[in-house]
């Protein structure tokens, strides 16, 4: 992991002191709320439905066991003993006090963490593949580049007051596990014919009220030009992005209204006009950052684990955990284990202080002290020996973290929704819980196979519903919660925005509607090997729409 140097530590300490002073002046009334709000947001403090919410940055999802223990400590002392991992690999505490923020930020700084730029119209946390550095299908580890982007974007003097928030994601594997095409800038590591590393650059993706899939702006960008080119994209956006309408201020709107060709011309012109070597990354700079992410020296192990195999043969729950939650590691004998934060009937992404400490202990014992946060609101222990899987599973089960449901119907992404969020129009958590219980039986979920259900409690789409295989959007109509259903969304290399099925469903109808969708899939799929999203692409909306709306229309006749 990246470790702060003296500059980084001083940088964060200065920011803590600055924001602490701003808080003091706000509490005394020297600053009005209008004057203070912009600083509050850029330091990750939201005013939500019940309380202030603090959003802590977890750069590209990387966490050490030491940091997890500190988060647990903060949860106990300053919050209500739990936190929530988000779809941007950050952590949220829902019950913090503004008056406690200075103390919390000092605690975070002590473990090289902060809340800088987790909100506001600035460049937010750069997210990355949660299996970075370990996945067998990886081209190159994206984390060094994500760290370089983080350093460049932190308190950038030109990009602190953008037209709107700005989100960057980077992926280094052949499978896109970072949803890069749904971001303002998406970066895919590629190799050219000469074997040189570069980036396929996408721009103008986003969800919210106007979902768009990003467009390719550059097929191959040499790696050492990463910062210069991204800087040029930001400059073009900052100069031309709309500031007249908050809902049309994202770069996706600029790309849509002006066209990708216009965008490319502008960015390439700015990039070409740079003074020679301006922001070009030097090899020694790249090497210095890359050194922080050197793979750990893992002892050699057999490719397969007899112990784990024997356990799976007699323990169905462990077999499911092993099949669904363990990704093949680059190093034989190891796996990257996803810890599901989606217990059946539980709240997606929530974790208690005790559970955080347990995961920290397990990270130390089984994963070189390292953990990751995925944008799908789960945790990852990236370096687990296959022989350790049984013991790890036992420990997770005892803590309520042992569900072997990763990638299945009960592995739901859900935003906090109307239970917590001041922007929400409907609840998302109870819907997620009910769906989770309906599809919680492992055999049933396994039969359905890979299915990404994503739920948002409002049009802002923090639950990423637009790119769910089944997406659910909670709205309010005439005082009642109503849920719009979308099908066929995808956040991977075949990214697509889901299609609306038709009229929305009431809260007591939506779970049945989801079940209907799965029943149509099961009836019409070519076979168990045809996943839901593939079947939908083949079949189209028609059979699902018929089942949802027309099949019952004649029932009263």
């Amino acid at each position: 992991m990246y470790r702060y140097d003296e500059f980084d530590a001083a940088f964060v300490a200065d920011r803590v002191a600055q924001f602490s002073d701003q808080i003091e002046r706000r509490l005394s009334g020297e600053l009005t709320e209008d004057q203070f709000k912009i600083h509050r947001l850029m330091n990750g403090v939201y005013l939500q439905l019940h309380s202030y919410m603090l959003r802590i940055a977890i750069p590209y999802g990387a966490l050490s066991s030491r940091q997890l223990r500190k988060l647990a400590d903060i949860a106990r002392r300053y919050d209500k003993g739990y936190g929530h991992f988000t779809t941007r690999q950050n952590l949220q505490f829902n019950w913090t006090a503004l008056s406690d923020a200075p103390a919390i930020l000092r605690e975070l700084a002590s473990v090289e963490m902060h809340c800088i730029q987790t909100s506001g119209n600035c460049i937010r946390n750069t997210t990355a593949d949660h299996f970075a550095g370990v996945a067998a299908d990886e081209i190159e580890d994206p984390r060094p580049w994500a760290e370089i982007l983080r350093q460049w974007s932190s308190l950038h003097p030109e990009f602190t007051y953008l037209p709107r928030k700005f989100k960057i994601a980077i992926n280094g594997a052949t499978r896109d596990r970072a949803a890069i095409r749904t971001h303002d800038i998406g970066l895919q590591i590629v190799r050219n014919d000469a074997g040189e590393t570069g980036f396929q650059v996408f721009v103008g993706g986003g969800q919210g009220r106007t979902p768009m899939i990003a467009r390719e702006i550059r097929a191959f960008l040499p790696a050492h030009h990463l910062i210069a080119y991204v800087d040029s994209i930001l400059r073009v956006y900052n100069l031309n992005g709309r500031r007249d309408n908050k809902y049309k201020a994202r770069i996706k709107i600029l790309v849509h209204e002006k066209g990708i060709d216009w965008m490319r011309r502008e960015v390439e012109a700015d990039f070409a006009a740079r003074p020679d070597r301006s922001l070009t990354l030097a090899d020694d700079e790249i090497a210095a950052i890359r050194a922080f992410f050197a793979p750990p020296a893992l002892p050699a192990r057999a490719a397969a684990s007899a112990d784990a195999g024997a356990r799976a043969a007699r323990d169905a729950a462990f077999a499911a955990f092993r099949a669904n939650n363990v990704l093949a590691h680059k190093i034989q004998g190891y796996g990257a284990v996803t810890i599901s934060l989606k217990p059946v009937g539980g709240i997606p992404g929530d974790i208690s202080a005790d559970q955080m400490e347990l995961v920290a202990d397990l990270a130390d014992k089984y994963s070189q002290g390292e953990a990751r946060v995925s944008h799908e609101q789960n945790l990852v222990l990236p370096h687990v020996a296959l022989d350790d899987l049984p013991a790890l599973h036992d420990a997770l089960v005892a803590a309520g973290l042992g569900d072997g449901n990763v990638g299945l119907a009960s592995d739901i992404i859900a935003c906090p929704g109307l239970d917590y969020c001041a922007l929400a129009t409907a609840r998302s958590i109870p819907i997620a819980q009910d769906i989770s219980k309906r599809f919680g039986h492992l055999a049933r979920a396994a039969d359905i196979g890979p299915l990404k259900i994503k739920i948002s409690g409002c049009i802002n789409a923090c639950g990423h519903h637009h790119v769910g295989h089944i997406g659910i959007l909670g709205l309010e109509r005439r005082g009642e919660e109503t849920y719009q259903l979308t099908l066929g969304g995808s956040a991977d290399e075949a990214s697509a925005v889901g299609q609306i099925t038709g009229p929305g469903f009431a809260a007591d109808e939506i779970v049945d509607a989801v079940q209907t969708v799965t029943e149509v899939y099961l009836a019409l799929r070519k076979g168990p090997d045809e996943a839901f999203v593939d079947a939908f692409r083949r079949l189209g909306m028609a059979p699902f729409k018929t089942a949802l709306y027309e099949r019952n229309a004649g029932a009263d006749i």
Binding site: H50, G400, P430, G479
Partner: protein
Amino acid sequence: MARAFASQVLSANRLADGRVVFLGPDRAGWVDDFHAAGVWRTQAEATAAIGAAQTFVAGNVVLDVAPVEVTGDGDRLRPVSLRDAIRAALRPSVAPRLPSGFTLDTTFGGGI
């Protein structure tokens, strides 16, 4: 035809900790129990209440004063909208669920 005035209470967030509070019946302070809030049944009462509430905003006690339409009386007093009901309960409609043996600070306050 003009809509009849709907009874309301006034909510706000306490500046220091962000917690939801309600203007008390004497308009001289804030309470964190929805059922202890002042209920304003005429436009004139509501206008006076908002005026009183704004002095607390100016005094850096609370922020984001918002009227909450209510129905009923006494123990049956309820916010009309689901959003306001969740907010008035001072807690989410779903509590975090944890397996036995794991602790959680369950001091969610209030309740309706």
